[in-house]
Amino acid sequence: MTTAMESSQFQSEKMTFSVLSSSAPVMAPRVGKLALAGRKTLSTPHYIPLTSRGTVPHIAHDMLRKETALNSLYIGLEDFITKKSPSPVYNVPVSEDESPLRRFICASDDMPLILAPRRYPAIPCPPNNTDTSIAILTSVGFRQLPAHQYLDSVRSLKPDIAIGLADIVYGREPGVKRRAKMVDRTHAFTQDALERLYGKAVPAEQKASAAYFAPVLPLDNAQQSLYLDDLQDELKSRISGLALYESASLSQIPESLGALPRLLLSQPGSPHDLLREVSLGGDLMTLPFVGECSDAGIALDFTFPAPSDATVSASEPRALGIDLWSADNAKDVSALSEGCECYACRKHHRAYFNHLLNAKEMAAWALLQMHNYHVMDLFFAGVRDSIQRGTFEEDMRSFTRVYASELPQRTGEGPRLRGYQLQAGPHKRGPRVYGRLDDVSQKFAESQSSIATPDTDASGLEHHGFAQKA
């Protein structure tokens, strides 16, 4: 690891990305600053919090502002598309230059907003993408999002960053023919988007204010070389960043595009995966595992670099998280992680989390989200320090030695998932108990949940001091 301080800079009207330290333009860890006009500056590597319908799941707006350090939002346009057109998000009354999207979701003025066509992780849609549209899942079902509508949205909703439309196949491996089509379509989407948003023919006042992140497909280099060549020649002047769908793509970035920020949409499964992405030069990460852990009652518990006093044992590496469903926590009045300064740890202890999970109280997920994001804040701060110190590779090796390779297994139930939140993979929707009377069934479920039926037998009740055997 070298400590060379070569700095490069990418600058456009609304966005500046300065790389403060890196040994090479590509394939090496680097520290940077992403500055967007009028918004908080992001120190990279960092993560972009994922939203659902404009909220970071479980964290109410006031708590987010007061008690978290979240400093950007990833927003899927599909969350805002309704049956009736135009959808409400397009009708928000705003002053000139104000983002209707920001106004609609009531985000604070300095929060960078990153708009993508789809939520992340995106849920596979049975309908296929077409040459002029992609399939999306809204809260009222599947439909097509025409490319021109997405571009109109980028222009009118005024996010700070827009992630370009790509023809991605979700939920299965595309075949050879399909892969060729992915490249052709994505290439065409990108060319068309850049022309319509920023082209010479577009009057200055109608040019999009958003910085455009061009997609790099999750394919190998040879397959998309024509597209990548075009990105570095014809299209380079109009793109402000790259959106990558797998970490392997980090090795395909042409050197001439090395100054652009790289946003990863790669579903990392653990902090180890994140470190690998950082080591290959990733700047902005998305972390679905944080929300999944919170839902599952798992408090993340790791630091980077790993604590130096950590006793390393190959047979029993440190767990990356604590399963708060475990009865071990029932009387434990210690914080989730020792010395943690997050809101949840300042105010509460493990016994409360164990109780909230058992009682299926929503506060469990809200508090865990705040803790887990705080752990990630510190993790990325540690990563940045480590890169600047020039000890990243060494720190990464010791992190791998000290910590378990995977997050703890989920043992408990999470919140009820709604259709638009369902993903392929570990989450399976619970058995459908009620028919189509959603409103009625909810009230019924509600009335049931307030009838706490003892889940213990007579001896248990006696032990709890609840009653005695008669």
Binding site: R53, G54, T55, P57, H58, I59, A60, H61, D62, M63, E67, F80, T82, K84, P88, V92, F104, I105, C106, A330, K331, V333, Y343, K347, H348, H349, A351, Y352, N354, H355, L356, N358, A359, E361, M362, A363, L367, R418, Q442, K443, E446, S450, I451, A452, T453, P454, D455, T456, D457, A458, L461, E462, H463, H464, G465, F466, A467, Q468, K469, A470
Partner: protein, 412 residues
């Protein structure tokens, strides 16, 4: 009823300071000093059933101005149970809430929720739902659990039956038994210096029984007094008569709590009848179905008519959600609430904040009106807002109840 009640003097961990009394109605404004802070009366208490208020953090609850909330003994007895409560050091420490807590006795849930529960002189007999073993919940169990919970106000175990029960003999028995159980609760109460035991007046809708019960229980000198057995589907006229009858017999210097009530209209009228404290799950439960409480009643934000309504939930509301951004609020709109309600847990959190804030603000405004001796005008405005000034729509029970305390709701 025992001829010789042998009143037991008990210490009190509260003080009630009176500030004003309405010169027309029986409404009172006071401040109740409890071990975890002062509570302005009259007050609405939100219900944090299982030591959590439906997704809110306790700082969000503080921001609504809440000084006193409820936990349910029945639920905390099941989860996390007495052993954990003792080990953690009580419910305040369990949930990280440093303001006041009130717990019910668990009897109400027991009888209404567990089938096959029968009440005997010893206590509530029921079959353990898991293994069918016969079990017994006694007044001593309830107090012991509430002592472990450590709530600032604890309730006696009472013999609860529906007010609508036609069985007069059973109602009388329940009233008398509640008095006897109060004595057992007083005996079992370990921490009277830090926890205030409230008796519960029973007697169904029979005003004679209520009067007898008041006499018996007042003689036992508990720090506070609750009127129980209401909110069970009885006619509102009957409800008002019971509250009015009881408050006339209760000592001025003790707080009066009407259990399980209720809707804003019920509370505003019951305050005029001389009651001080109220609790109800309705404002927080209805929030989770997308209903926002506003001065004109309730609105359901799931309704598509709000999809493009970019005004706050209620114009002029000072809650965190409705207050505009430039006043430090979130500036949320009905359109956004429509977007997240019943789809994201955050939607429930935000509407819960609004509704609890609404109830507490309503109580604060009522209190101020009493202090300034304009409570009748406050009530008239309140009803006029709900019914858009159409007096023909005013509920008769409210008109009648208020007339009984010297006020004509229909007057201009």
């Amino acid at each position: 009823m025992s001829a010789d009640p042998q009143p037991k003097r008990m210490p009190s961990a509260l003080t009630l300071h009176h500030h004003a009394k309405c010169s027309t109605t029986k409404a009172r404004a006071s401040t109740l000093d409890l071990p975890h802070g002062s509570v302005p009366l009259p007050i609405f208490m939100p219900v944090a059933t299982q030591a959590s208020l439906k997704g809110l953090t306790y700082d969000q609850l503080r921001d609504t101005g809440c000084m006193l909330c409820l936990n349910n003994t029945y639920h905390l007895g099941l989860k996390p149970g007495q052993e954990v409560l003792d080990s953690v050091g009580g419910a305040h420490k369990l949930q990280g809430w440093d303001r006041n807590l009130l717990t019910d006795s668990g009897g109400f849930q027991m009888v209404s929720l567990l089938k096959l529960a029968t009440v005997t002189e010893e206590g509530v007999r029921f079959l353990s739902p898991h293994d069918g073993s016969p079990m017994l919940l006694t007044p001593e169990h309830s107090i012991s659990l509430q002592n472990s919970i450590g709530s600032d106000i604890i309730m006696q175990l009472d013999d609860v039956i529906a007010t609508t029960s036609p069985d007069h003999a059973r109602i009388k028995e329940a009233m008398e038994r509640s008095v006897r159980w109060l004595d057992r609760c007083i005996d079992a109460h370990k921490y009277p210096e830090t926890q205030n035991l409230f008796c519960i007046i029973q007697g169904g809708l029979d005003l004679e029984l209520r009067k007898q019960c008041c006499a018996e229980m007042v003689a036992r000198d508990t720090p506070g007094i609750a009127i129980g057995g209401l909110s069970g589907g009885e006619a509102k006229e009957e409800f008002c008569k019971v509250v009015d009858t009881c408050t006339s017999l209760l000592p001025e210097h003790k707080p009066r709590y009407v259990m399980g009530v209720g809707y804003p209209e019920d509370i505003v009228v019951a305050v005029a009848l001389g009651a001080d404290m109220f609790d109800c799950v309705w404002p927080t439960r209805t929030a989770r179905f997308g209903n926002a409480i506003v001065s004109a009643g309730t609105i359901n934000l799931r309704n598509s008519s709000y999809a493009n309504d970019f005004s706050p939930i209620e114009e002029g509301c000072t809650c965190t959600c409705c207050r505009p951004k430039d006043q430090g609020g979130l500036g949320l709109t009905k359109a956004y609430m429509h977007h997240v309600t019943a789809k994201e847990t955050v939607g429930a959190h935000l509407l819960t904040v609004h509704n609890v804030h609404y109830m507490l603000t309503l109580m604060g405004a009522a209190r101020q009106a009493i202090i300034e001796d304009r409570y009748p005008a406050f009530i008239r405005k309140f009803f006029s807002d709900i019914y858009q000034g159409d007096k023909t729509k005013y509920p008769e029970w409210a008109v009648g109840a208020l007339r009984g305390v010297g006020m004509d709701l229909l007057e201009d």
